[in-house]
Symmetry: C2
Subunit: 249 residues, 2 copies
């Protein structure tokens, strides 16, 4: 499985993904789920994928190829991330890539009893717009984060959702958002074996139009260890500090 969370804040975008894939619990591998597309001073996109690994990789490859290859002479340019005038059009490119992979592979997968499934979070900024965040569904349609919704999750989202619900708003700092995303990831990794290290943490600051920080967090990462131990201890202390119920009578 996979767990990815993308957060849209006034100050930028924070994207965090694990790197575990599995075909059954006896076949676990490490594959990065974050891809960055950027042209400094013009645009930056961070794409995270969950679902079938083959389909996820195919989506990323189609997006790369469409951006790299010029259209044949006489044909209109293929829609691609680097020509998209807005983040909305970029999200459409991602949706179209998913549909293309579906058209190629879904029937073949069905013959083997497999279900086609790819879901993406696309965050970033195009010059002239503020940063935006999209959740692109397996059907290629998508939704955008609005002022009421400051984050999207894909994959194994439930274990890590309550903490984000409680602490993150659009006004949160990038540091708070990154800290919260790592706590959320830690809770998920503890409860679901099929989500695992290392973790990719990518952030884009509003207006910079490039990746501002990209860190790969492994099991030995000092800050993550602090969060992991500190959060468990803080929860236990908070739990102790709450009054016990009266169970008499």
């Amino acid at each position: 499985m996979t767990y990815c969370v993308g957060m849209l804040l006034d100050r930028g975008i924070v994207m965090v993904a694990d790197s575990r894939t599995n075909a059954g619990v006896d076949n676990i591998s490490t594959f990065r789920k974050v891809t960055v597309f950027q042209r400094p001073k013009d645009r930056v996109f961070v794409l995270m994928t969950a679902g079938n690994l083959a389909a996820s990789q195919a989506v990323v490859n189609l997006l790369r190829e469409a951006s790299a290859e010029p259209a044949p002479a006489g044909e209109p340019p293929r829609p691609n991330l680097f020509d998209a005038p807005t983040m909305f059009e970029a999200a459409r490119c991602v949706g179209e890539a998913i549909r293309e992979v579906h058209a190629r592979d879904a029937a073949g997968m069905t013959a083997f009893g497999l279900e086609f499934n790819v879901q993406c979070i696309l965050g970033g900024q195009v010059a002239g717009e503020r940063p935006r965040l999209f959740n692109v569904y397996p059907a290629g349609n998508f939704i955008e984060a609005t002022p009421d919704t400051s984050f999207f999750q894909i994959g194994e989202f439930k274990y890590g959702k309550p903490i984000i619900d409680r602490v993150i708003t659009r006004e949160s700092s990038l540091e708070e958002a990154a800290k919260c995303a790592l706590i959320s990831m830690d809770s998920t990794i503890r409860s679901n074996l099929s989500v695992g290290m290392p973790i990719d943490l990518v952030l884009v600051r509003t207006g910079e139009l490039r990746v501002g920080h990209h860190r790969v967090i492994g099991a030995e990462d000092e800050y993550f260890g602090t969060i992991r131990n500190g959060w468990g201890e803080a929860l236990r202390n908070a739990f102790k500090a709450l009054p016990d119920p009266d169970l008499s009578g």
Copy 2:
């Protein structure tokens, strides 16, 4: 949906269930999911059910009828909770009741595209044994909590699992267990509309062979309000107290 959690501790058993059922988000009702069977000084069982409401109610009714009606003359007594010599045999009674409902209703449900699904947590104590806790599957088979596992959850379990994982062991007091179960329920209710108040809290103290405390917790319950507000605030404070990551470079 439903969320139920049962905890087995050295000092007894704590069982907590919500009371919401839904057939789609536009058809929500309140049905209690906890049933107590007891004969003081001899045995006490607390049964919680999740799954199709009709099937859950049928299971409870079959268990009640089997306990109430003597077998016809000349036939061996029907297996029932009040004749079960052990908790293991009581769990088999629950499994058999699930199988009987499956045999009656599953085909009819399939014709309407519905999937048969009932899962139960059975906790309690029979004189001569220590308290025991079972998780009975829709197939009628079941597992028992062992010293490594102090709780079972059924229904919408993910949102409320991390806190139990972190604070509950066999040595926890009944007060701690009840507090933790209510925090777990609060996190679940916040994240899943189909889990709702009131909450049933039932506890059985080791050796008492009867229900020691049964409380129905509604939206206006003072203690639950303290937990609900206090936990949210404690989480936010714990979050603030952890160091921020260094996102420079």
